[in-house]
Amino acid sequence: MILDYVGVKEINGSLIVLDNVPNATSEEMVTIRLDNGTTRQGRIVQMDGNRIVIQVFEGTRGISLENTETRLMGHPMELSLSPEILGRIFDGAGKPIDGLGDIFPIKKADINGTPINPVSRVYPKNFINTGISTIDVLMTLIRGQKLPIFSGSGMKHNELAVQIARQAKITDENGSNDFCIVFAAMGVKQDVADYFRRSFDESGVLSRVVMFLNLANDPIIERILTPRCALTAAEYLAFELGKHVLVIMTDMTSYCEALREFSSSKGEIPGRKGYPGYLYSDLASIYERAGIVAGKNGSVTQLPILTMPNDDVTHPVPDLTGYITEGQIQLDRGLDASGIYPPVSVLPSLSRLMKDGIGKGFTREDHSAVSNQLFAAYSKVMDARSLASVIGEEELSPVDKKYIAFGKLFESKFVNQGFNDNRSIEQSLDLGWELLAALPRSELDRVDDDMLDKYYEPAKKRVESRENQNTADKITAAEA
């Protein structure tokens, strides 16, 4: 028996309160029909006996105490799923908006998902070659990982995400058809969403992309559902259809702000900066949906993008994200301003899963040595620079001067890389050695001697012969 409840008792922001509703279940979906014939979706968020609180996705504008009929749907928020979702565009709540009609569902799944049992997880170890030196060598992306991009307004995080999506060799040996992208836009501008769509189109992967778009002016309640819908789709593609899924979510900060707005309208006690106390658990329920499950072929890899308000990494959103995700790629405004792309701030960036996914059998035996040494050397560059800013570069010790030179090379050659430049891991590693060749051998304290003999010395010779070649060329040019 389906009952419609007429009228509401209270309206507060996006919440409405109904009284005398028996038989409602926690987090159940409701449809609200207004007397002008339009319908809205809502979800039960709180129940006290027969009194229920509903959040209305499309907002409460136009709702009065009398003009509605509310119907309980008898199930929590679900997403219709079928292999046909590939190539389609949905709104934030999972309704198709590309004019191609509804999805004929093979399966419906609760968008909240259920946690993966830790014993059923497979520890991720397979390296994803993104073709970007900094990421591949220093903060390797692993299939099944969640690696966010910490950015700020105006920096090139969207380009970076597109480049990763385009170049990433995410598939295993079985073939390339198993790879797809789920894209969730939360509170982004129309043109940004369009940029992603166009880029996917240009690189010819659009038919393998599922897009969920909640634009900046769409209702915030829908924004809270967007990542959950996207991940439900991703889990379906990965664990039921066996695909390797890369989930790009932008912008998590907008998501958190929506959550804050929603929480304060419910009258909850705020935690830090007005964000609800359960922000950590809430973010975890999104990020933890990345991974690989034993016995299933597919994987879910997450690449969330968030803009740090005022570039502040200690702001609750990046802070809590960093505690949940397996590392982060942090962008730097200074590098961005000096025209370096991708402006990856190397030192605070990190990938927690890389240690077991690199080295012999995965990438190359010298990988961990190079990356450790580059990190250590670059952190010395920073010390030398701060010293130089006080006493001037001229006064630095000869070793510090070498570090300054190394730092410049590192940023201009290694970090800096074109938007269309796709480097193989061998190229990137060799480049790393060639840069380290600018430092004396005794400074390389993170690498053992065998490794130095095998890679450092040849790299040094390569650099020297190239320099000799250059000088020779110059001389011939001058003579001519």
């Binding site: 409602a24 926690s26 709180q46 006290d48 946690p115 935690g271 359960y278 605070p348 077991d356 304290d445």
Partner: protein, 585 residues
């Protein structure tokens, strides 16, 4: 009598109207699916329950069933080499029953009830037993003997004993008649409420270090068996890595590793690594002495709150058998946040940063369950607690870090800038401290000789001096320093890179015995003394550095295998020779 029904639902918090039979802390089953919950508030009108499972789909009017007992765990053989969720449900069995994703209302017994244990009964009819006395033993894993003890609340005379043989966990193996004539069946397991510390005969002084094989910890900031330590650090500073290293290498008999609101992939890593790792002492897989409690960040928040107590109760149980137990909790901040979240749902008045005002007392209760004790059966056992703290915004002034500092005596502060330079373990030697060292000094003197403490002091002094010199270096560069100060900076570099920094992935360096730690200090200090003599004889420091000895010492952690400690003598000789060479030149 049972007609209590759900009234309100707000996330994991459930209310019941007009129920009078429930006690505070009682465990209840919620709804038709019988989700596990605990009573956390009682008034005459409203009873509040926190539910340990997802509440989506529950509806008002569903029944609530009390169990009459507080939230408790089952203690018995089969705990080791197992992985549980926050309320001691075995995750492997849940996966077998429900698949790769965790379903709700899984009714699985905590311990495998079908497994047979080869039990030796150690009592005979007529024996008088007190609480805590051992009545049966069985080999739980190849290295750990499980000792079944009379529950601490019971005492009396044994009136029935079964013969030695194979029994299930729930089989009665003996009967105990107490002074009032009541007969109690003793099986291989017992239950204990997680929020009540298990009783002990008395607390003993803390004076044995927990050897971890990590130089910066064993030498600089040691922790005692029965002590409590905090590892605070922002994300990416290596809290989890440090915890893993301690779990792998510390010399406790039993390891309880609680993943409290952390990453799922990390737990699968622990599972994989620990089963592949062989314990050097016993030659058996690490899992033989390990219990994992995994309540990842996306699992229900109330169970996260309980997981810490579940862990420490298991630890106390093994302590009572006379074992040294170390429990790692990663991370206590997530636990504190779970407290905050539930407190918020109860609309309690928040204190600092939204945390409830009772946060400090809860932290104190937890850390006070550490200790070196004489157990009820006159054995010596200990529980060592090592809690990671994840301060918001890496700011150590936040309430969880500050309050944890008050109740732990060992503080390993992880430092972002060290982590950025990939100096691991990123324990900052200026900010960290261990109040246990004075109490452990005797042990070091007795077991390693008086030099160890002396070396440590000298190493400390050089690091302190370097720290104040660095203030100057930052302003004017190191070139202008006089040679003796340059020597300090160079020696400190050897200490930092060659000694304090330790490579967890290097097979020799991941665990370093104390003797090698001492010899490393010895060689470094020997070089320092020799060089100092030369410097005071006006030999330019550049000549001394040119010998390459400093760089050689930095790499000795890799070059000298743990079983070739005689090589240190060669190093000393080489130093002598090189230094003599400088003088004659």
């Amino acid at each position: 009598m049972n007609n209590d029904v759900i009234f309100g639902i707000n996330g994991p918090v459930i209310t019941v109207k007009n129920a009078h039979s429930f006690a505070m802390g009682e465990m209840v089953y919620v709804g038709k699916e019988r989700l596990v919950g605990e009573i956390i508030g009682v008034t005459d009108k409203l009873t509040t329950i926190q539910c340990y499972e997802e509440t989506t789909g529950l509806r008002p009017g569903e029944p609530i069933e009390g169990t009459g007992a507080p939230m408790n765990v089952t203690l018995g053989p089969g705990i080791l080499d197992n992985i549980f969720d926050g309320i001691e449900r075995p995750l492997k069995e849940i996966a077998e029953q429900a698949g790769s994703f965790i379903a709700r209302g899984c009714a699985v017994p905590s311990l495998d009830t079908s497994r047979l244990w080869k039990v030796t009964l150690t009592v005979k009819k007529g024996d008088k037993l007190q609480g805590g006395d051992i009545y049966a033993t069985c080999q739980e894993t190849q290295i750990i003997e499980h000792r079944c003890m009379v529950p601490p609340t019971l005492s009396g005379t044994i009136t029935m004993v079964k013969p030695n043989g194979s029994y299930h966990v729930n089989d009665t193996v003996a009967e105990l008649t107490d002074n009032d004539g009541n007969v109690h069946a003793l099986s291989l397991c017992q239950r204990w409420p997680i929020r009540t510390p298990r009783p002990v005969k008395k607390h003993l002084p803390i004076n044995i270090p927990l050897i971890t094989g990590q130089r910066v910890i064993d030498t600089m900031f040691p922790i005692a068996k029965g002590g409590a330590a905090a590892i605070p650090g922002g994300f990416g500073t290596g809290k989890t890595m440090t915890q893993h290293q301690l779990a792998k290498w510390c010399d406790a008999d039993i390891i309880i590793y609680v993943g409290c609101g952390e990453r799922g992939n990390e737990m699968s890593q622990v599972l994989e690594e620990f089963s592949a790792l062989i314990d050097p002492k016993s030659g058996r897989p690490m899992t033989d002495r390990t219990v994992l409690i995994a309540n990842t960040s996306n699992m229900p928040v109330a169970a996260r709150e309980a997981s810490i107590y579940t862990g420490v109760t298991l630890a106390e149980y093994y302590r009572d058998m006379g074992y040294h137990v170390a429990m790692m909790a990663d991370s206590t901040s997530r636990w504190a946040e779970a407290l905050r979240e539930i407190s918020g749902r109860l609309e309690e008045m928040p204190a600092e940063e939204g945390f409830p005002a009772y946060l400090p007392s809860r932290l104190a209760e937890f850390y006070e369950r550490a200790g070196m004790v004489e157990t009820l059966n006159d054995k010596e056992g200990s529980v060592t607690l090592i809690g990671a703290v994840s301060p918001a915004g890496s700011d150590f002034s936040e309430p969880v870090t500050q309050n944890t500092k008050r109740f732990t005596r060992c503080f390993w502060a992880l430092d972002k800038s060290l982590a950025y330079a990939r100096h691991y373990p990123a324990i900052n030697w200026m900010e960290s401290y261990s109040e246990y060292f004075p109490e452990l000094e005797n042990w070091y003197n007795k077991n390693l000789g008086p030099e160890f403490v002396k070396y440590r002091k000298e190493i400390n002094k050089i690091l302190q001096e370097e720290n104040s010199l660095m203030e100057i270096v930052k302003l004017i560069g190191s070139d202008v320093l006089p040679d003796d100060q340059k020597l300090i900076i160079e020696t400190a570099r050897v200490i930092r890179v060659g000694f304090l920094q330790q490579n967890a992935f290097h097979k020799e360096d991941t665990y370093v015995p104390l003797k090698k730690q001492e010899l490393m200090m010895k060689v470094i200090l020997y070089l320092y003394q020799k060089a100092k003599q030369l410097v005071s004889a006006s030999v330019p420091i550049s000549n001394i550095l040119a010998t390459g000895l400093f760089d050689k010492l930095i790499k000795m952690k890799y070059d000298i295998p743990n079983n070739r400690l005689d090589m240190f003598d060669d190093y000393m000789k080489e130093i002598d020779k090189a230094m003599a060479g400088i003088v004659t030149a």
